[in-house]
């Protein structure tokens, strides 16, 4: 074999090796690109499916509670539901006290125990209007999503039996609040207590079991967070946050 042809073979073998190398590199990048694409597509599909399922309108859902007119409320305290606030008392009252509270929150139960009655008296006297901003943000503090289920039951009572039944139910659930970390009242128990507060069993059973106001509660929780509050109870007097133990001084 001549020296020349040996050189040719060498250089063509080198060229072939370089080409093979390039092809391998190209395949490698194609493969990586393909896997990246696959992962991205899978991620987007799963997200779309999950978020789509969450957003699907449920025929058992009610957009917003109303305040039922009942005989018990006739000529009594005026009430109004605006956005996520349940306003109770004279709209002309000089001051408005806003209370963000969660039925699972021990500090809220304590707040209600200490100032609930004096605030109610001030409202009856026409000195203040109370805006209840009920939220259900503490589901992780019970084993059965008590926070949002209890609120759903309270909204159901308001929706079907009116203000006085709602206030009775609200006060009852704070006084007999289940401890954090364990199971809260099951729906059966909530229905029993709703009936005791003056609601009609036939009207409340289905909305409580279906969690009819679940989407409203999600929006109410979100509204509170958008307003910059993350803690319950949060108490405002005419829109200004006040220390919860100073609220009675603030409304003087």
């Amino acid at each position: 074999m001549s020296k020349k042809s040996t050189d040719q073979t060498r250089s063509s073998r080198a060229a072939a090796a370089i080409n093979a190398q390039k092809a391998a590199e190209r395949n490698r990048y194609l493969m990586i690109g393909g896997v990246v694409l696959l992962v991205v597509v899978l991620l987007v599909v799963v997200m779309a499916v999950v978020l789509g399922m969450n957003a699907k309108p449920d025929k058992n859902q009610k957009a917003t509670p109303s305040i039922a007119t009942s005989a018990a409320d006739a000529g009594g305290t005026p009430a109004e539901l605006k956005d996520f606030g349940i306003f109770v008392g004279d709209p002309e009252a000089p001051k408005t006290v806003t209370i963000y509270e969660d039925l699972q929150c021990p500090a809220c139960a304590n707040f209600e125990a200490v100032v609930g009655k004096p605030l109610a008296a001030a409202m009856d006297a026409g000195d203040i209007r109370i805006e209840y901003r009920m939220v259900g943000i503490l589901d992780r503090y019970s084993t059965n999503d008590y926070s949002s289920r209890a609120l759903n039951a309270a909204l159901t009572v308001l929706d079907t039996a009116g203000l006085e039944a709602f206030r009775t139910f609200h006060d009852d659930l704070f006084v007999s609040q289940p401890a954090e970390g364990g199971p809260g009242f099951e729906n059966d128990e909530l229905i029993k207590r709703a009936v005791a507060a003056g609601a009609d069993e036939d009207k409340v059973t289905k909305p409580i079991e279906d969690k009819a106001f679940a989407q409203w509660i999600v929006k109410a929780n979100d509204a509170m967070s958008r307003e910059g509050y993350g803690q319950t109870p949060t108490v405002l007097v005419d829109g200004e946050e006040v220390e919860q133990d100073k609220v009675l001084e603030e409304i003087q």
Binding site: I32, V35, V39, V50, I137, D139, S225, G230, Q231
Partner: protein, 164 residues
């Protein structure tokens, strides 16, 4: 030996991402509120970030555990940890009392100040593991080595696997 360190780094970081993301998936609205509580992102992007983050975390976690696209995932993991460290440090510096929402939850937490140092230390540790994988993504029992042929060089065509 280094391949074993890589495996441990993958399983620890990937495991943490998987658990953290999974726990958030079941209450996405809560995660949106947790993101908002940091008061760092504009409201226009808060819902999108709050909804997407858990999915991204689960994906990064799974792929790190399987050892698929290890370098890319370790890179995303590092960026996320840097973002979380900045977020927690800034919440701490501004005197916010929030649950970091790292594993679900979020919002106000009265004991927050005592937890911030631990959370930052944990994230720094996980960031270190992620960076190790960015520098050296090859590790034991990774799908990468099954799917992607190792880089070859003209001088040395021997399979890297044979070194073990």
């Amino acid at each position: 030996m280094k391949d074993w360190i890589g495996l441990v780094a993958r399983l620890v970081t990937g495991g943490v991402w998987l658990v953290a993301g999974w726990k958030k998936l079941f209450d996405l609205p809560e995660n949106v509120r947790a993101v908002r509580a940091y008061e760092l992102l504009p409201e226009a992007v808060v819902p999108a970030v709050g909804h997407a983050l858990p999915f991204v975390e689960v994906t990064v976690g799974l792929l790190l555990i399987f050892g698929l696209l290890t370098r890319l995932m370790a890179g995303i993991s590092s960026l996320l940890f840097i973002a979380f460290i900045i977020g927690i440090a800034s919440a701490w510096a501004r005197g916010l009392q929030i649950d970091c929402g790292c594993f679900g939850g979020g919002g106000f937490d009265a004991d927050a100040a005592s937890k911030y140092p631990v959370e930052i230390a944990r994230d720094v540790g996980l960031l270190a593991l992620s960076l190790w994988l960015v520098v050296r993504p090859r590790s034991r029992w990774a799908m990468d080595s099954l799917l992607f042929s190792p880089r070859t060089t003209l001088e040395r065509n021997d399979d890297v696997e044979e070194e073990h």
